[in-house]
C-alpha cells in the first residue's frame, strides 16, 4: 500500500543566469519516506534541493506540499509551511552559541510553529552530544557535531519535510554511518526526508525512493530496492 503524496514537483526548471541547470523534473515524495537524489557532479542535485527550499525560484513548473502550491513562496514562507532545510556547508550560525542556534530555528516562525519546551526537550534528547554544551559557540563544534546541530535546528519547528543537502559531505568515515543512522532514526519518527547525496552506498541503505539526476534531467525515478538489482548505476551516471 502506498503512502499519501506529501511533496510533488511538476515539470520544474531552474538555473542561474541565462540557462537552466535542471529541467522537466517531476517527482512525487510519499509521506514518511526517505527520498534520495543521486547523480554525478554537476548533475543539478544542489540546484534541485535549493528550488525545493525556496532559495532559488523555479522558472517554470509547480511545487506542492499537501496539494498546496508553494512555488511562488520565498524561503522564509516555505519554512512556515513546514519545510526545513539543512544546507551542505555553513549550516549553523558559527558565531552564535548552540542555544542561540536552536532558539533562532523557530523564533521567527508563526506562533503555531514555534518550538515548545516539550519539543525542545524531545529534540535535545535525540542529539545528546549538543544538549550538554548549549553555551558553546557552534563554530567550535566538529563537522559531525555541526551536522547534528543543524539537524536539531531543523527538527525544532516540527517540520513536515526535512531537506538535506549532502549530509555526509566533509565528514570522516566514522561519522558517515552514524549520520545516516540518525537520519533513519529521525525518519522513523514519521518525518519525511528529501536528501541529496554523493555517498550512494550509504544513501541507498536508508532510502525508500531514488531519483537519479544526470545533466539536469531525470534519468531514473524508482524505489531504492530496484537500484542495483535491475539498474547499473555506472551506466546510469555515465550514460
Amino acid at each position: 500500500m502506498t503512502a499519501p503524496i506529501l511533496l510533488r514537483t511538476k515539470d520544474i526548471a531552474a538555473g542561474y543566469g541565462g540557462g537552466d541547470i535542471i529541467s522537466n523534473i517531476s517527482v512525487d515524495v510519499e509521506e514518511g519516506k526517505i527520498f534520495t537524489v543521486i547523480g554525478p557532479n554537476g548533475s543539478g542535485k544542489s540546484t534541485f534541493i535549493k528550488v525545493l527550499a525556496g532559495l532559488l525560484r523555479a522558472r517554470v513548473g509547480g511545487i506542492t506540499i499537501k496539494e498546496e502550491q508553494i512555488a511562488p513562496l520565498a524561503a522564509p514562507e516555505r519554512v512556515a509551511k513546514g519545510i526545513a532545510y539543512v544546507p551542505q556547508e555553513y549550516n549553523v550560525f558559527a558565531n552564535l552559541t548552540i542555544d542561540e542556534n536552536l532558539r533562532l530555528s523557530t523564533e521567527f516562525l508563526k506562533r503555531d510553529r514555534r518550538a515548545t519546551g516539550e519539543q525542545r526537550e524531545r529534540v535535545l534528547g535525540m542529539f545528546p552530544e549538543i544538549a550538554t554544551r548549549l553555551k558553546l559557540r557552534a563554530g567550535y563544534l566538529s563537522g559531525g557535531q555541526r551536522q547534528m546541530l543543524a539537524f536539531a535546528c531543523a527538527m525544532m519547528a516540527a517540520p513536515v519535510v526535512l531537506l538535506l543537502d549532502e549530509p555526509s559531505a566533509g565528514l570522516s568515515p566514522k561519522f558517515v554511518t552514524e549520520i545516516f543512522d540518525r537520519i533513519k532514526a529521525v525518519n522513523e519518527t514519521g518525518l519525511t526526508v528529501v536528501m541529496i547525496e554523493q555517498n550512494v552506498k550509504e544513501a541507498l541503505r536508508i532510502a525508500d525512493t531514488v531519483l537519479v539526476l544526470v545533466g539536469g534531467a531525470t534519468r531514473l525515478f524508482v524505489p531504492a530496492s530496484e537500484i542495483g538489482s535491475t539498474h547499473d548505476l555506472h551506466k546510469l551516471f555515465l550514460g
Binding site: 550560525f93 552564535l96 533562532l104
Partner: protein, 287 residues
C-alpha cells in the same frame, strides 16, 4: 596632567563609540562601510538643534525626539537609496554612501547656512575630583554613551531581534532558511544606526560648534575605531573607539592638537598592513 588627557580621551572615545558601533552594525549586516556616518551624525545634531532652539525643548527631550525621528529618516534613506543596490558590491555601496553623505551635508547647509550654531544649554561649572577637571558635558556624554551601549548590548545579546541581526551578519542564506526576513532586519539595523549616530551628533554638538562639516571631525576616527575593533564586531568597535579617543587626546602632549587625526590615519594604515582583520577580528569564526 596626563591623567586629565586620558580622561578627556575616554570621553572623546565615548562619542566615537556610538557611530563606530553604528558603522560596524551596518557593515556586519550589509557588508559595506557606510561613509555617510559622519553626515548622519551632523544631521542628527541639527535635528536636535531644531527641537532645542526653535521649539524650546530641553536638550534631553530634543535629543530623544531628534534621534527617534532620525531613526525613521535612516530607514527612509535605506529604502530610497541602498535597497535599490542591495546586491551590488561593497565598493558600489561605499560610493553610494558618499553620495548620501554629500546630500545630507548640503541639505544642512541649505537650511542652516555655513555658520556655527550651538545648543541652548545652561553653562555649568566644572567639577573637580582627585585633581581632575570634569565638566558637565563630559558627565552627560559618559552617562548617555554607557546607557546606549548597555541598551545595544542587551538588544544584540538577549533579544530575538539581536540574535536575528547576528544571524543575518553570520550567514544570510541560512537565516532566510530559518524564516528570518532579511529586509526586516535591515530596516531595524538602519533604525538603530540612525538613532546611535543622531545621539552621537548631539553629544558632538555639545562638545563643539554645530556646522555642516561637524561629522567630518569624526569620520576618520570612527573608521579607525571600527577597523581597530574588527569591522562587524560591535564590542570591538567600543574598545577601538576608547583606544582611539585616548591615543588621539594624549598625542596632543607631543604634537599640535590640529594634527591629532594623524594618529587615526596611522592606526588605520598600520592595522591594514599588519592585522587587516582588526585587533578583535580573529575572534570571529569564518566557517
Amino acid at each position: 596632567m596626563a591623567a586629565q588627557y586620558i580622561l578627556n580621551g575616554f570621553v572623546s572615545g565615548m562619542i566615537l563609540a556610538l557611530p563606530a558601533v553604528a558603522l560596524t552594525l551596518v557593515y556586519g549586516i550589509l557588508k559595506f562601510p557606510n561613509f555617510a556616518s559622519g553626515a548622519m551624525l551632523t544631521a542628527g545634531a541639527y535635528l536636535a538643534l531644531i527641537f532645542n532652539v526653535y521649539f524650546g525643548m530641553s536638550l534631553l527631550w530634543a535629543a530623544i525626539v531628534g534621534s527617534v525621528i532620525f531613526a525613521f529618516i535612516a530607514v527612509g534613506i535605506d529604502q530610497a537609496v541602498f535597497r535599490q543596490l542591495r546586491d551590488r558590491t561593497s565598493i558600489t555601496l561605499l560610493v553610494c554612501s558618499m553620495g548620501v553623505s554629500f546630500v545630507l551635508e548640503n541639505i544642512a547647509r541649505f537650511i542652516f547656512g555655513n555658520g556655527a550654531r550651538s545648543y541652548d544649554l545652561a553653562i555649568a561649572r566644572p567639577k573637580h575630583f582627585l585633581g581632575l577637571r570634569i565638566n558637565n558635558e563630559q558627565i552627560i556624554t559618559a552617562v548617555t554613551v554607557i546607557a546606549a551601549m548597555i541598551v545595544v548590548y542587551l538588544i544584540l545579546r538577549h533579544t530575538a531581534l539581536g540574535r536575528a541581526m547576528r544571524a543575518v551578519a553570520d550567514n544570510p542564506s541560512l537565516a532566510a532558511a530559518r524564516g528570518i526576513r532579511r529586509e526586516s532586519i535591515v530596516r531595524w539595523t538602519w533604525g538603530i544606526t540612525g538613532c546611535l549616530t543622531a545621539v552621537a551628533g548631539v553629544l558632538a554638538g555639545m562638545d563643539r560648534a554645530i556646522d555642516p562639516l561637524l561629522g567630518w571631525n569624526y569620520i576618520v576616527s570612527t573608521f579607525a575605531a571600527a577597523i581597530l575593533g574588527g569591522l562587524g564586531n560591535p564590542v570591538g568597535a567600543v574598545i577601538g573607539a576608547l583606544v582611539v579617543g585616548v591615543v588621539e587626546e594624549t598625542s596632543t602632549l607631543f604634537m599640535p592638537p590640529n594634527y591629532r587625526q594623524i594618529v587615526s590615519f596611522a592606526a588605520i594604515a598600520l592595522l591594514l598592513i599588519l592585522r587587516p582583520q582588526g585587533l578583535f577580528g580573529v575572534a570571529r569564526i569564518k566557517k
